[in-house]
């Protein structure tokens, strides 16, 4: 297992304890405070105890415009919250090495770490996540010279992780592992400047936080934890992720195409299933 998986496990334990304490505190007498007064306190508290686990003692700077994040202020569906992250190419001309996405109050706060290939050209990245409660959603960028920059946004949501997101269980089983790739020409892309890809993967991405009412045991988690997106043999990005990425993981990002090699995707889930697919580059979409 890699280092970051280890971190995810440690933070899971720590945060479960924190969540329990908070729940007890809420029942014990803070209930009279309004939600607004207390809304961001638990999230910040969790972050303060979490950041050294994830980033050791490395300093984390304010973003200084290098990275920005957008998410709805109030989630329409807590199990499916769109998150958009942008890197300012003027502030990071060679792109960033990695982006870590953190959702403070989730049982496993490190949602995912995305690592970008050299010259991947990714300056805009969006995905969909589960948000379990009122929480900051943070993106921490690591620049090519190893500096960390953080930005965050606050999302009001409830029950995104414990809610069983799968609406249609038979279909989820039948289609697991199917992938779809959409290619957008620069002119049709969100930033209007560089071509984009949208990768969609069918997977229930179970959070493992639903309890079986008969046995009171948690239904085991089952999610995609490793993903790599390549053009030929060149990495665009790889991802290590936890339970916070929504059902049917979905990623949309711009990139620098290089040559005519196909786009190749490999994913592995926690049951050891491997899924792969590839698509020729649609040259009209460059």
């Amino acid at each position: 297992m890699s280092d970051s998986s280890h971190i995810v496990r440690r933070t899971t334990l720590r945060n479960t304890a924190a969540a329990l304490l908070l729940a007890v505190a809420a029942i014990g007498g803070f209930a009279s405070l309004t939600r607004a007064e207390t809304a961001d306190a638990p999230s910040n508290e969790t972050w303060n105890s979490l950041k050294t686990d994830v980033f050791a003692n490395r300093p984390i700077k304010d973003n200084e415009g290098l990275i920005s994040i957008e998410a709805p202020r109030r989630a329409q569906d807590a199990a499916l919250v769109p998150v958009d992250i942008r890197i300012d190419p003027a502030k990071a001309p060679n792109g960033v090495k990695a982006i870590t996405l953190i959702i403070d109050v989730n049982p496993s706060p490190v949602a995912a770490t995305f690592k970008f290939g050299d010259n991947s050209g990714v300056t805009h990245f969006s995905t969909r996540v589960r948000v379990n409660d009122y929480s900051f959603v943070r993106a921490i960028a690591e620049t090519q010279d190893g500096q960390l920059y953080m930005t965050e946004t606050f999302v009001k949501a409830s029950g995104g992780c414990s809610a069983p997101a799968v609406k249609n269980q038979d279909e989820a089983k039948a289609t697991m592992g199917q992938m779809k790739l959409r290619q957008f020409a620069a002119k049709d892309s969100i930033d209007g400047r560089s071509p984009e890809l949208q990768l969609m993967i069918r997977h229930p991405n179970n959070s493992g936080l639903q309890r079986d009412p008969q046995t009171q045991l948690f239904i085991p988690p089952h999610f995609i934890h490793e993903l790599s997106v390549m053009q030929g043999d060149r990495k665009i990005f790889s991802m290590e992720s936890g339970i916070s990425i929504s059902e049917d993981p979905n990623f949309r990002f711009n990139y620098h195409p290089d040559g005519k090699n196909p786009i190749r995707v490999e994913a592995t889930d926690t049951d050891g299933n491997k899924f792969q697919d590839q698509w020729p580059l649609e040259t009209a979409k460059l």
């Binding site: 329409q76 809610a163 069983p164 609406k167 269980q169 779809k180 892309s189 069918r202 639903q210 239904i219």
Partner: protein
């Protein structure tokens, strides 16, 4: 049959149970409850031997005791069947009291139309009353996955008092495709549907009066909520419309409405929502943007539009982008 006098209700032929206020008998056969503050529980006869309660167009809350969906009673020669149990033990108890006002026959069946708390949180009341609980073959699995989440998340919404005694009780008689139930001289046809509102939707058809209890496959006035499959719901709409009913009891809406006209508003909403979403998806408009406008032109005539349209649009987008 119902005459409204300001907030005072004078009801004929209804079992009308007050929540807090005492009931005053008056003028033979009429019941009047002179409390403006309390809620009524009115089980009105909509066809021969068929009674329905109409829930309010609200989210479940302490003030409405979770009584937001429609409930039904079907009286046979030997026994009765109930359609759904309500959103709390309190509502279930009022429903039971109203049923007992109408008939002393045994409650043979409680039929759960699907998994949602407003339809099943009262189940314990009717298990105690001796009813056999009947549901879609997917209902036990759905309750297994969601039950503990419902109990936990609705505690916040309903409060400890109203959550008292609520248990997640799965059905013991399951419907694979169709099932006929007999109440003595009265035959009910139950039908399990493919994923639509949820993946465990069940309808009940009373042949004698051609009354269809549609559960949440039919919403009127209360915006439909999507927790199954938008495409599945739209695809089964014509099959649903083909049911040879004279009237429907929708899951949310009036106690009774003409069939199949009752389907038109929700069909119109789904078509507009799906058309907006498909257009956005084809144009590459991302989910976060698309859900701000999708379905908005269908707003008129719906209660709870802002509470549910964004969520429906989000779920619909995630489903339709795989087409």
């Amino acid at each position: 049959m119902t005459i409204l006098l300001g907030r005072r209700h004078v009801i004929q032929g209804f079992a009308c149970i007050g929540v807090t206020a005492a009931m005053l008998p008056c003028c033979g056969g009429y019941w009047m409850r002179a409390s403006a503050a309390a809620r009524d529980f009115s089980l009105g006869e909509i066809a021969d031997g068929i009674y329905a309660f109409a829930g309010v167009y609200e989210l479940m809350a302490p003030a409405n005791q979770g009584a937001i969906c429609n409930l039904g009673l079907i009286v046979g020669n030997d026994a009765v069947a109930l359609i759904d149990s309500g959103g709390s033990i309190k509502e279930g108890q009022e429903f039971l009291a109203a049923v007992r006002w109408i008939t002393a026959k045994p409650i043979r069946y409680l039929i759960n139309t699907h998994m949602h708390p407003d339809h099943i949180f009262g189940n314990a009341v009717f298990r105690e009353a001796g009813a056999t609980i009947v549901g879609h073959h997917n209902l036990p699995r759905a309750l297994e996955a969601r039950g503990s989440y419902y109990l936990q998340s609705y505690r916040e919404q309903l409060g400890d008092e109203l959550m008292k005694g609520i248990e997640i009780i799965p059905p013991t008689v399951l419907v694979d495709d169709r099932l006929e139930l007999d109440l003595g001289g009265r035959s009910l046809e139950l039908r399990a549907w493919k994923p639509a509102h949820t993946d465990n939707d069940l309808t009940v058809f009373d042949k004698a009066t051609r009354t269809l209890f549609a559960g949440d496959l039919v919403f009127m006035s209360h915006l439909p909520t999507l927790d199954g499959s938008l495409l599945g719901w739209m695809r089964q709409m014509s099959e649903l419309a083909a049911v040879d009913a004279a009237r429907v009891v929708p899951g949310h809406g009036p106690a009774s409405a003409g069939w199949p006209d009752a389907l038109q508003p929700e069909q119109h909403y789904f078509e507009l929502l799906a058309a907006d979403l498909r257009k956005s998806i084809a144009a590459g408009v991302p989910l976060s943007e698309a859900v701000k406008t999708a379905g908005q032109s269908a707003r008129d005539g719906w209660s709870l539009f802002d509470e549910f349209n964004g969520r429906n649009a989000t779920a619909g987008y995630a489903e339709l982008e795989w087409e």
